[in-house]
Symmetry: C2
Subunit: 425 residues, 2 copies
């Protein structure tokens, strides 16, 4: 059956040559060789787990054999391991329009959201309303729910819809904190950060932006948008590796006043004085908690070295061409098979992923993966495709659509083995 | 000057041959070759950062090249990466006398302490007193201070002294939670877990044990001691690598009732249903928060494979002989140079480290490290020496004392370069 899929795909190839030409002309095409990608597969899931920079393996081996095994305890100083949360944070800051000293790379996105949410709420302790969104990535809402139940029992959570206007409608002078995803993890819809932040500030509220699906995928300008707080991960478009350290951003104007409820020793003003009374650091280091997972930072640093060779606007331009082409081809060739595009067609309103829906989304995606095109599935009916401009090309877009079309035409996805449901991330 | 130190050390070697004989007879000696240790140095800081298992490098390379680069997103399922916090937790559980499903490997010790402290406090919400110890590792007290300030404003923290009796004196029927280190990070003093837990339970209090300096160093029997909660790291005696995942333990009898304030998506009953309302898992997974840092688990798994080839009682027996010999030699040869042993001489009262004090502890330790014996310094005046029975031998003990004696005799430590203070971990 897989041969039938391939035959159907290759028969339907009028646009293939045009895509090959676009790849040939692509100024960013050389970045692909900096990533170790499996041969014969098309990877459109970099919005979930980014690809591995080739240099990550030797960098890790050197850090283990020389840093850990030979340097041992001395490497905390000699290699500045102790400062990784700050030095990696400063490198991440440049990709989000933040200033030196405003970003800390540490812990998970969820833990970081808890820290900045508690910090933000304490800056608006006279207000009760917390706004998020009902289709947000669940952990964001979960963390708010847990923090409200445990720390801010008088607060009330209000959930907006997908469009920006539904957020604006909820804003009022009782609003303490607004917590939104910049790009929605399901639909790929991009929120207007400048407009929403400004509107929240007008009523005196603070905003926390979750950039998990935008950092590394498009230009972000936290300073230009007058942002208050942000959080995000580094294992999606940032290619930091499975479970790489997450990060948090706190605007300089809030840094002096805010408090981190997770008062671990690494957030102490003088951690190596081993004083028993907690005195927070004056800098972004007040948001440190425990000992940093050193080895997990290494691949992220290799990926940052790649990002530092390009600029986010060039990546954004290519990303919009990739997603635009995928949407166009999907509308030409997939709609008649019952697949719908739910990602905004307006470029300014989408991130770097395209989502399709189909009631049999699960087995269709499993069949597609077996046929060599890796996307993912999100309940109840969403097929997600991430287009990471550093290593995805135009022919990949063509091949993905053509393969999916062939799977629908041949009915390949109906084979029994694709119906068994497994965990997915 | 370094040659003078070596000459002085080698001249003073009547016990050296005896130690070589003990190493020859040591049933655990073969484990040393499973670790990648620098040649020509003696490593007595495994109580701060454990040595690297030789197999950690190929294991990491395989996971990166095959798991991440080739398997990509599929490896979360195909390699059970998603379940690492549970599967690694179950392997750690065996080393602490815990049952399957009682230990979770995740986050940092500090973050884990916050989780279990909040959980424990909510089980005793009618009580106000929290007991810890004034010479505890600072982060433990810091986390309690932050949680009290933010979540339990009516609670009051009382700090005991180093001896167990001073803890017992503070216990009363208003005591909610007692948080103690099993082995003190400075003195190496070992607390009587069974006695203190029992006494706390008698007044209705719950106990959280910090095992950072005991797990992997000596047998721990959480079940036998009827323990409630515990936390610890895995980068010291557990050899998991710099910043390796920490862990937490919750006794089965509390698991149903307790709540984790850090309600991240990975702690949801059905995380991949992506439901917006948080419903905690019924198992230890309710203490999961964010995505696990996969690569950081790999060296720990290699180290666990080594521990699984021996038993903790055999390691404890050797550890006590090593620390006993170090204390004996220190009293013979170092006391006259102003160095004092502050670790209990009674074997049942010490962990696997020996601490000396000297008012010039900092430059003395720097000189000792340059002379090839790696220990560490803790303010204000403590020189720490960790004896990890998997890879430290009896001749190492002799050489460490002889080198330190030579440094004192020659005055090597007075050289200017040793006075410059740096960060230490």
């Amino acid at each position: 059956m897989i041969d039938a899929v391939k035959a159907a795909r290759d028969a339907a190839s009028p646009q293939q040559k045009e895509c090959q030409k676009l790849d040939w002309e692509d100024q960013l095409a050389h970045f692909r060789q900096m990533f170790d990608l499996p041969k014969g597969e098309i990877y459109l899931d970099g919005n979930s787990l980014g690809a591995m920079p080739v240099s990550a393996v030797p960098a890790m081996q050197e850090a283990m054999s020389e840093g850990w095994a030979k340097g041992l305890i001395r490497s905390w100083n000699a290699r500045d391991w102790h400062m990784l949360p700050v030095t990696v944070g400063d490198r991440l800051a440049k990709l989000m329009g933040a200033k030196k000293g405003e970003v800390l790379a540490a812990d998970s996105t969820s833990v970081n959201l808890y820290k900045v949410f508690c910090a933000a709420m304490n800056l608006r302790s006279d207000r009760r309303k917390v706004i998020s969104e009902r289709n947000n990535f669940p952990t964001d809402v979960h963390i708010l729910q847990g923090a409200i139940a445990n720390v801010f029992p008088k607060a009330e959570l209000a959930l907006a819809g997908d469009d920006d206007d539904s957020v604006l409608e909820l804003l009022d002078t009782d609003t303490a904190v607004v917590c939104l995803s910049h790009v929605n993890y399901r639909t790929g819809r991009l929120r207007d950060m400048a407009r929403l932040t400004s509107a929240a500030h007008e009523v005196g509220a603070l905003v926390i932006w979750d950039l998990a699906h935008s950092l590394g995928a498009l230009p972000v300008d936290l300073t230009g948008c007058d942002a208050d707080f942000a959080v995000g991960c580094s294992y999606k478009y940032m290619n930091g590796g499975p479970g790489a350290p997450a990060w948090l951003f706190v605007a300089t104007r809030h840094l002096g006043e805010v408090q981190n409820p997770l008062t671990g020793w690494q957030g102490h003003a003088v951690p190596f004085a081993f004083e028993i009374d907690f005195q927070p650091a004056g800098s972004i280091e007040k948001f440190r908690v425990g000992t940093p997972p050193v080895l997990s930072y290494l691949p992220l640093m290799e990926s940052l070295s790649i990002f530092e060779q390009t600029d986010m606007q060039a990546l954004r331009d290519k990303s919009l061409r990739l997603t635009g082409m995928f949407i166009e081809l999907a509308e030409q060739r997939l709609v008649q098979h019952g697949l719908s595009v739910i990602t905004p067609k307006e470029p300014a309103e989408r991130g770097s992923q395209v989502a399709l829906t189909h009631e049999n989304g699960w087995p269709i995606m499993q069949a597609l993966i077996e046929a060599g095109v890796i996307g993912d599935f999100r309940a109840p009916d969403i097929l997600r495709f991430g287009f990471t401009p550093l290593y995805v090309g135009f022919e990949d877009v063509w091949a993905a659509v053509a393969t999916l079309e062939a799977i629908m035409e041949t009915g390949f996805w109906r084979e029994d083995r694709f119906s068994e449901r497994k965990l997915v991330t």
